[in-house]
Subunit: 450 residues, 2 copies
């Protein structure tokens, strides 16, 4: 099979077919494609063309396409569809995707769409899922799963399972519950195939099953599923009743989003923008951090203004402020990034003070090497040992302080329950710039006896 | 089930049991635990204790534990095991994990271990897998899969499948091949359960199946599997023969490693270190980037030394160099990060020049806002309009140039086949520092007529 490739030719071919209203050809062309590929095409079309396609194609295809679209494209298309049309798309979707899409609608439309869903049970399940915070296991789970009662025998189980499996795209495990609906264990399809049909489920199920609670954070679910290499995990409520199931494809999305958010925070971008977003959206995501940097720079200028008396005899001290600021920033970001990643991987053991001592030793080792190099370079350049010494000693101390700040801030934020990732990027660089320059001038003044 | 939690008490309990050589108690305690949890415990033990545990426990348990250990811990433990003992562990593992572990051994041991593997077929498969580059589909795939011939009927298929399924932890799809072993399509377990036993596979299989080639990059496999929400994908060779299968749990690891590598590069850390690594390893990962920053800082100092004549009348210009450097760095990193992420998500369409024009407009919008703020602040502070104007105009231009550099470099690297992620972090900040300061002083000199 040749893999799908989104080309300009394909887009213009489709645009021409839409213009000519060649319904048959469009259907033939698109029904061949995977819904994720159709979504890529629709993202490139204008709103009118996209809406036309959605009204043309079967909701079996368009419903899945809908879940894969860019958020803003989906929002606009849904505005162009009636409540009835949206409900038809919803009917085709698994409960988790259905709930996510309805949750994106304006509140007054949500109710209208839900009322139009013909399958009452499906509607009730969607309403249940919408109650959960989207970042929790409850918000990630789907109601579609295969569960059997421990008091059944294998024959009844296989029969029931076939009925339930109709609604479940992929059966990973069969969950075993008791009469109260509490999760007791699991069965594999393989086991079921190889066990006598008269055996009682009670006697054959595996009582060991990992599960998460509806209120567990998505990140925690991701950690458990990837640690134990699970492809699906059952979700239980406060009374340990089986209420849903999370599959690995949703967790892959959580992992990717989490990584992107951390990456963007480190780069000084408020989360959730893409290269193709509008200039205004990109500005909104980037300007606040730049403004923070600007304030930091003004602060640094004010500090330097306060040390003007050094200028006369030792102007060279001022030439090295960008170096000091850059090194303070770089060391701070390195330290913070290691901690943020360690926290994300649940890898940080031991006390904060041990961590700080380690970082300090590390900074001292790096600092001494870099300071000696700088001492030689500046001494050779200006043949003034005093100012060369002042600059190098300051660099050494600034590196240590920057390392400590970079280690401490994310650990501190994490203890307070704040996402430590905001400590990387501009936040650390800006505060380290200011601290670094302040320390630098103090030490220079001290060594140069001014 | 209460989730596993690694505590200091548990570690010392186990250490005491090892010291007392309480084999029975240790076995009881550890056999209850998941292999990934045992790996967390072993990571905390010293080498002698860890080796003792590995010799004590069944290789059924320890083999999986081995795959989950930290690289350096595994290396040391393997050094303490004989070729025969390692071969016993290998026998228990799936071919992909087995090949990864053998590949980590020194070359002379690899051969010895392979000779000790009793199952000839298993050994041959491992040897085959070791030929592939670890970053390719061939390096990620396992030989364990369930495949049936299109010329069989359902009954024969179910029989064969049961035999093959013995060796396969999780059956996702049953792959259908022709007499030459070429991949033709797939069957789901569900389909098999609901089809008459005399039906020919040829008539019931689904001819549409995504596959990747042995030489496809791991990143590409990850992109396809996560785009199409696949839990497993078959791997074919140059002749389209089915040679292996990649499962989503391995791809989750690829996605996480890729994200960590990009994050670390952005933070100025050469890939593959963790918070718990030794100070020497951490220094090796961090020092080169700091050294680059140091050189950049020295470059900036040299540039500033060349503009010494500005000092006399307009010392304030020097006070704002850290601000200019910081803003150039921040804007550059923001632009580069958006591009790197867009490239990773295959989201960047259109030409480089369009991208640069967009980034320039964005930088102009951000630049004008920040420059006006800075103009007012500096004017109020020093009541010298000329220098305030020089500083603000420079900031505006520096932001635009930084944005262009930040956009261009990763796009350029990507075209050349180099990982664009190295363009983020210290690389961009350092080059932007130098360019920024150079432009800044040029413009200041121009506006102030010096």
């Amino acid at each position: 099979m040749t893999p799908f490739k989104l080309t300009d030719e394909l887009i213009s071919q489709i645009e021409t077919l839409i213009e000519k209203k060649s319904e048959g050809q469009l259907r033939d062309l698109l029904m061949e494609l995977h819904y994720a590929d159709i979504a890529e095409i629709v993202n490139e079309l204008d709103l009118e063309e996209a809406t036309y396609l959605f009204k043309l194609l079967d909701s079996e295809k368009t419903s899945d396409t809908l879940t894969e679209l860019d958020d803003d494209v989906r929002e606009q298309i849904l505005q162009n569809l009636s409540a009835k049309e949206i409900a038809e798309e919803i009917e085709e979707l698994d409960t988790d995707d259905a709930a996510d899409i309805i949750a994106e609608l304006p509140e007054e439309r949500q109710e209208k769409v839900i009322q139009q869903i013909e399958d009452e049970e499906h509607a009730a399940e969607i309403v249940e899922l919408m109650r959960y915070d989207e970042d929790t296991a409850g918000g990630l789970m789907a109601k579609e799963l295969v569960s059997v009662n421990e008091n059944w025998n294998v024959l009844k189980c296989v029969k029931e399972m076939r009925v339930q499996a109709e609604n479940v795209t992929r059966v990973h495990s069969i969950y075993v519950v008791d009469d109260q609906g509490k999760l007791k264990g699991r069965l594999s399809l393989k086991d079921l195939l190889t066990t006598s049909t008269t055996a009682q489920i009670r006697d054959v199920y595996i009582p060991k099953v990992d599960s998460v609670s509806v209120h567990d954070k998505g990140e925690e679910v991701a950690r458990i599923m990837s640690k134990y290499d699970l492809e699906a995990i059952p979700v239980v409520d406060e009374m340990h009743r089986l209420v849903g199931r999370i599959t690995i494809d949703d967790i892959v999305d959580v992992i990717k989003e989490e990584a992107e958010k951390d990456y963007q925070l480190a780069a000084g971008i408020t989360k959730d923008v893409e290269a193709d977003d509008s200039i205004l959206e990109l500005t909104r995501a980037r300007l606040p951090w730049l403004f923070l940097g600007l304030m930091g720079g003004v602060g640094a200028a004010l500090i330097m203004g306060g040390f003007e008396e050094i200028l006369e005899k030792h102007a060279i001290i001022f030439f090295f402020t960008p170096l000091i600021a850059a090194m303070a920033g770089n060391v701070g970001v390195q330290s913070a990034a290691i901690i943020v990643q360690g926290l994300a991987n649940d890898d940080i053991k031991g006390s904060i003070s041990n961590r700080l001592i380690k970082e300090m030793s590390l900074a001292m080792l790096n600092g001494i090497i870099l300071a000696v190099v700088l001492l030689v370079v500046t001494w050779v350049w200006k043949s003034n040992f005093d100012s060369a010494l002042a600059i190098s000693v300051s660099l050494f101390i600034v590196i240590i302080v920057a390392g400590i700040i970079g280690t401490f801030i994310p650990l501190f934020l994490n203890r307070r329950g704040i996402d430590p990732a905001i400590a990387t990027g501009p936040f650390i660089t800006t505060s380290n710039d200011i601290f670094g320059i302040l320390i630098y001038f103090w030490i220079a003044k001290l060594i140069l006896n001014i």
